[in-house]
């Protein structure tokens, strides 16, 4: 019998999971827990009972929960006892679940919004088959968010092993990658950057997936050094729609069977409402949802495109609009710069002042003056950060993205 989950020194087998599902008579519709096994077993129990689930981040505090307007946190509710003879029966019951699953956007801007999904919208891009057996997945996402749910379903429906590495330190992740023989990784670019500098290569890793943020060529080079035998691909998934398209490299392709479900207006990607979860806070343009993601066609006839930036990420500097990602890309050209975050700091003179935080490779010395000098030849004046700080660590949001 294969392993379901490794979490630090705790190990759970798939038969433990089946036993627990078959012997539980209660579940928590609205669960908040930092224990990943409890979270997943409760989640599966709710799904196979066709009962609603509300997934809350483990680290939400009282006032944040109050703002979300959820009631009955961790209150148990009885369910009919299950009698699954095999794990295959359990997987089948999950796949045909009628549950409504409520998740929340990560709230990098303003109040988190709730979105209601079905198992069908959450598992749209799950692939099952003999070729997917025996994989060991590093679980590097928050389980209450879209990306974490994608990884969970992909692994669970193939009865693969999950290894919890969410919010672990660099040295812990390095140790577990090797000791648990992880073969598949899906994480944010930020997660991979935190593994730098490259000290050794992980040769067992077969596939590395990046999602959630725009990545850059420098990061791809690092990832190739870290995981020399891995195929690297990018994934586009959103809280609103789940996973829609994946592709290798920095391009994405709209699947042929979904080609009528997308539109592009003023470079912005629009998604047909039939592909989305349910939410009162979606802004529709006719039957289409505005993603706020700006894209560029690589080959329009084949539906291949790449992401340029987020629409609302432009920083207004005294009336000039600056795209932080453009500035970050130039900063990353500087020898020794490992990671850069550019953001606007509210300012009484200009509305915002452009600021940058840089992480430099160990042993490298850079000064603010050198950086500014370099940028002067490459960017317009208003795009040059007026305050540059050198940091050891960036602040991350709950989903592992960098807070601007």
């Amino acid at each position: 019998m294969s392993l379901f989950l490794k979490d630090l020194d705790k190990v759970y087998r798939y038969e433990d999971l089946l036993y627990r599902i078959n012997h539980s008579s209660v579940y928590k519709p609205c669960i908040q827990t930092s224990d990943l096994y409890d979270f997943f077993t409760n989640f599966l129990l709710g799904l196979v009972s066709d009962s609603p689930l509300v997934l809350l981040d483990a680290d939400l505090n009282f006032s944040e929960l109050f703002g979300l307007n959820v009631r009955g946190i961790n209150i148990e509710k009885s369910v009919v006892k299950k009698q699954y003879a095999s794990l295959e029966d359990l997987v089948k019951a999950v796949q045909t679940s009628l549950s409504e699953i409520t998740i929340f956007t990560s709230g990098t801007t303003g109040q988190p919004k709730q979105v209601r999904h079905t198992v069908q919208t959450l598992t749209r891009s799950v692939r099952i088959g003999a070729g997917y057996r025996g994989q060991v997945w590093g679980f590097a996402y928050n389980p209450t968010h879209m990306a974490g749910l994608q990884v969970f379903f992909q692994a669970f429906e193939n009865l693969n092993t999950l290894v919890n590495i969410f919010n672990r330190s660099r040295s812990e992740v390095n140790a577990v990658l090797e000791s648990a023989a992880i073969t598949h990784l899906s994480a944010t670019p930020t997660f991979y950057r935190l593994l730098l500098p490259v000290e050794k290569a992980f040769e067992k890793v077969q596939r590395v997936t990046l999602g959630g943020e725009k990545s850059d060529r420098k990061l791809y080079d690092f990832i190739r050094q870290l995981f020399p035998y891995a195929k690297i691909n990018n994934v586009y998934a959103s809280t609103e729609a789940g996973s829609l398209f994946a592709a290798r490299g920095e391009n994405f392709q709209i699947p042929e069977n979904l080609s009528g479900k997308f539109r592009v207006e003023d470079s912005e990607l629009l998604i047909h409402k039939s592909l989305l979860g349910q939410s009162e806070s979606f802004q529709y343009s006719g039957d289409y949802y505005r993603t706020g993601d700006l894209i560029e066609w690589v080959d329009e006839s084949k539906g291949i495109f790449r992401f340029k930036s987020r629409k609302n990420e432009l920083v207004n500097i005294g009336g000039y609009k600056v795209n932080p990602e453009e500035v970050e890309a130039v900063l990353l050209q500087i020898e020794g710069v490992q990671q850069a975050v550019v953001y606007g700091k509210p300012n009484s003179v200009l509305g915002n002042v452009l600021c940058a935080e840089l992480k430099v490779l160990p042993g490298m010395e850079l000064t603010e003056f050198q950086i500014r000098r370099f940028l002067q030849g490459k960017l317009q004046d208003f795009k040059i950060p007026r305050r540059i700080k050198f940091v050891e660590q960036f602040l991350l949001t709950r989903t592992g993205k960098i807070k601007r």
Binding site: S348, V349, V353, C355, F369, R386
Partner: protein
């Protein structure tokens, strides 16, 4: 405090590849005497706020070095 303001003004000037100044007088005008544009002024406020915790432009624009001193005084 006046020495720190001089240092900060010189950081802003240096970052813009402009000539540094040896001293400041309260009558020096930020725009005319020191040649600051609005981006420089914004940088100046951020750096002074970092150091002194005071947003010197909070109640409106400031024109002279002396006005900075009195905000920080």
């Amino acid at each position: 405090m006046e020495q720190r303001v001089l240092d900060i003004v010189n950081v802003v000037l240096e970052n813009r590849s402009k000539t540094k100044v040896n001293n400041l007088s309260p009558d020096d005008k930020l725009r005319e005497t020191l040649g600051f544009d609005s981006l420089d002024l914004a940088e100046l406020t951020v750096r002074i706020e970092d150091e002194f915790g005071v947003d010197i432009f909070e109640d409106g624009l400031i024109n002279t070095v002396g006005e900075i001193y009195s905000k920080l005084g």
